[in-house]
Symmetry: C2
Subunit: 424 residues, 2 copies
């Protein structure tokens, strides 16, 4: 007798990262530089307590926070969110077109993760194609696999995808008759997970134009899905405007981001700004998923944003991550062999480390030696799409300063340095 | 140019109920007896404030509530949930087999809605068949339609589905070669939405056995999906054990229920007890949806259950709904014509009213006259599957005492009574 599972059920296999998470649980003495969790010490416990007290102080006025709300999200949070994205793109008080960031094209979701899922549901059938960065966010690769979607990797440069590679890939897909299967280009555009690179506005503009040029042959819109999850975790320097700021964005850019990482991961709320037609479909899908994100969580965010606590917390958080990144950088410089390299990091939670001499996979000698030494990381290979167009790179590792304490960052990098030296 | 939507995207049409919800928003003076929202006045604002204060009182000990948790749910909440379902089935302190309600077959989700969605994803391909009660929970019909799943309606008797109809339907599907498309039988087994009927344990046992008898021909397990969302909203009398209490349940019963309705709908948390293999797949799917329900919400429930506040609130809530049901009953007896009938209701949020003389659909004269009078309801036809095996019934309406105030229950039923009298 078969299991009776659906095709989606059978395709949704155990992600390799679960094994790493299980490892952390079963051997708590191991130092994990793998987890994408956020910093524990800086969680806004006091702010959240104050906000919840204000929210629920009056037995009567507190009720809306405990009742159902609209499926697309609390109207005030949607409005604050639209304004926030507009201000990020154009500066506070700027006379940027409100119409480009309308509340009614904004949706609140259970983290941006749920929105990535629903966009894939809304747009992709099994056999469809999504273009991704090479490497990319590995959980997105899991969503795509679960839906039977093929991911094609695009090479990365300092300021985002290699546009020639994008053009060449689209040209090749057009020739092979597969262009009609392409639904969108997925970019993690700020402090990318895992590579830490940020996409320039010029590249976003060029990518959008390139995609537009292939739409006639595709027979449908080719969207740019911009995942800005790490946008607010910027240590220094100026922000880059999102693709929403570009001409023609309103019907082609799917913008997703989150309040979970900049505020608190235990409060799962993300959001998106979407073309009208797509928002309509995604809201219906969300109606089937859950009728709307927990209202209590949304009300906490409304108050956090209104009261300025969100900004105050974010400022502290940026300083904290900048410091942790600095500590990790210092430790890498001290303990890693000189042939080990990594791109500079000005935000996010990760360093993306290139290990030229050795493989880093779960089955590799290096990974096993690291485990024996008491430390582990995310093997870089897990972040690459299963794309027959190139061999899967195996010489990188993602190490995170997000969740680890300062002491564990120092100790973990030191242990890893010892392992890298013996592997040389 | 086409829209580029997936098949799921195109199948996910606007549910008729949105129109009703829009109506309530755009004409706030209308009395809604349609909403399935819960009672506003009895929301546990004070309890929740106390719990959150306890949770977040210490800056350090409060952190876990604001951090990510495991995808399947907080371990303590899973354990409390498994124990709770066992106690409901076997009585507190009973020496019921713990092994039949193990924590590791329990999952916490964003309302039970998300679990219904994920079970459909895990088990159903387009063209598959789900057997449902006739009538059934209309949002489930939306989920099924979105996934291209056909629903076949089974006639209801006082104590649940007509077993002869179930057997006949399975026999017919076997003959037509469609039995392999059947994945599960979906029962809303306590104070059913909309019919208010409760399925007896004998019927659950018989249904489970009947399904088992067709498995060989189907080639895969035929599950019983028991949706117990209204189980705890019982006004009086004894609880009925769930199908989990039956022999052979551990690999065939998919049990779903919720903390949202008995505690607070703004805290979106549901749960399930599932066969091991199905739990594994559903947990992976949830990893792709959202990595786990907001931890803050789960921690509130852990404390509510531990401290006894959950039980205290539930007791008050049952008394409140029993009173509101009584008020609605009195008003119906006073104002409805004598040919209007409804089954007795001992729990839940609804009355299911039979209007023999007139149609009740959104386009019907009766519905329009009710709107003109200032009141509206859910037309019964919306709760029936699109099943060519029978004409869609059109002479019922669902009226809810959940969200409406006592004053609006009285006034709404009176207005509706006037409309029903003129329609006669």
């Amino acid at each position: 007798m078969t299991t009776g599972l659906s095709e989606l059920g059978r395709r949704t296999t155990e992600p390799p990262i679960s094994w790493l998470m299980g490892l952390a649980l079963s051997r708590p003495n191991l130092i994990s530089l793998a987890a994408g969790f956020t910093d524990n010490e800086s969680l806004p416990v006091d702010f959240t307590r104050e906000i919840l007290h204000e929210l629920l102080r009056h037995s009567k006025r507190g009720r809306p926070a405990l009742q159902y709300g609209p499926t697309a999200g609390d109207p005030e949070l949607r409005s604050l969110t639209a304004d926030r994205v507009r201000e990020l793109d154009h500066g506070a008080g700027a006379r940027a077109p409100k119409s480009r960031y309308p509340t009614d094209r904004t949706i609140i979701t259970n983290g941006s993760q749920q929105l990535l899922y629903m966009l894939t549901e809304a747009l992709c059938d099994p056999g469809d194609i999504v273009l991704v960065e090479d490497p990319t966010y590995f959980v997105y690769l899991g969503i795509a696999q679960s839906h039977g979607v093929q991911c094609k990797g695009l090479r990365l440069e300092q300021d985002g995808i290699d546009l020639k590679h994008l053009d060449g890939t689209l040209k090749r897909l057009k020739r092979s008759g597969e262009l009609k299967r392409v639904k969108f280009l997925y970019l993690v555009s700020y402090f990318q997970n895992p590579s830490c690179l940020t996409t320039s506005l010029a590249k976003k503009r060029a990518a959008l134009e390139l995609l537009r040029g292939y739409e006639k042959a595709a027979g449908h819109p080719l969207y740019l899905l911009e995942d800005a999850a790490y946008r607010e975790l910027r240590f220094e320097g100026d922000d880059t405007p999102s693709a929403l700021s570009l001409k023609g964005a309103e019907d082609r850019v799917l913008y997703t981001s989150t309040y979970s990482k900049p505020f608190a991961t235990g409060i799962r709320a993300g959001y998106g700004v979407l073309p009208e037609e797509i928002l309509k479909v995604v809201t219906r899908i969300k109606g089937n998923h859950d009728f709307g994100t927990a209202n209590l969580v949304q009300q906490v965010l409304v108050r956090a944003l209104h009261s300025g606590r969100y900004e105050r917390h974010l400022k502290q958080l940026r300083e904290r991550y900048a410091h942790k990144a600095e500590v990790m950088l210092g430790a890498m410089r001290r303990h890693f062999p000189s042939d080990i390299t990594w791109p500079d990091t000005r935000g996010g939670l990760y360093y993306w480390v290139n290990v030229p001499g050795a493989e880093t996979g779960l089955e590799s000698g290096l990974f096993k030696a690291a485990l024996d030494a008491g430390v582990f990381f995310v093997p870089g290979g897990l972040c690459y799409a299963d794309d027959p167009a190139r061999p899967r790179p195996r010489h990188e590792m993602r190490i995170s300063f997000g969740a680890a304490s300062l002491r564990n960052i120092r100790a973990g990098v030191k242990l890893l340095g010892g392992v890298l030296k013996s592997a040389n």
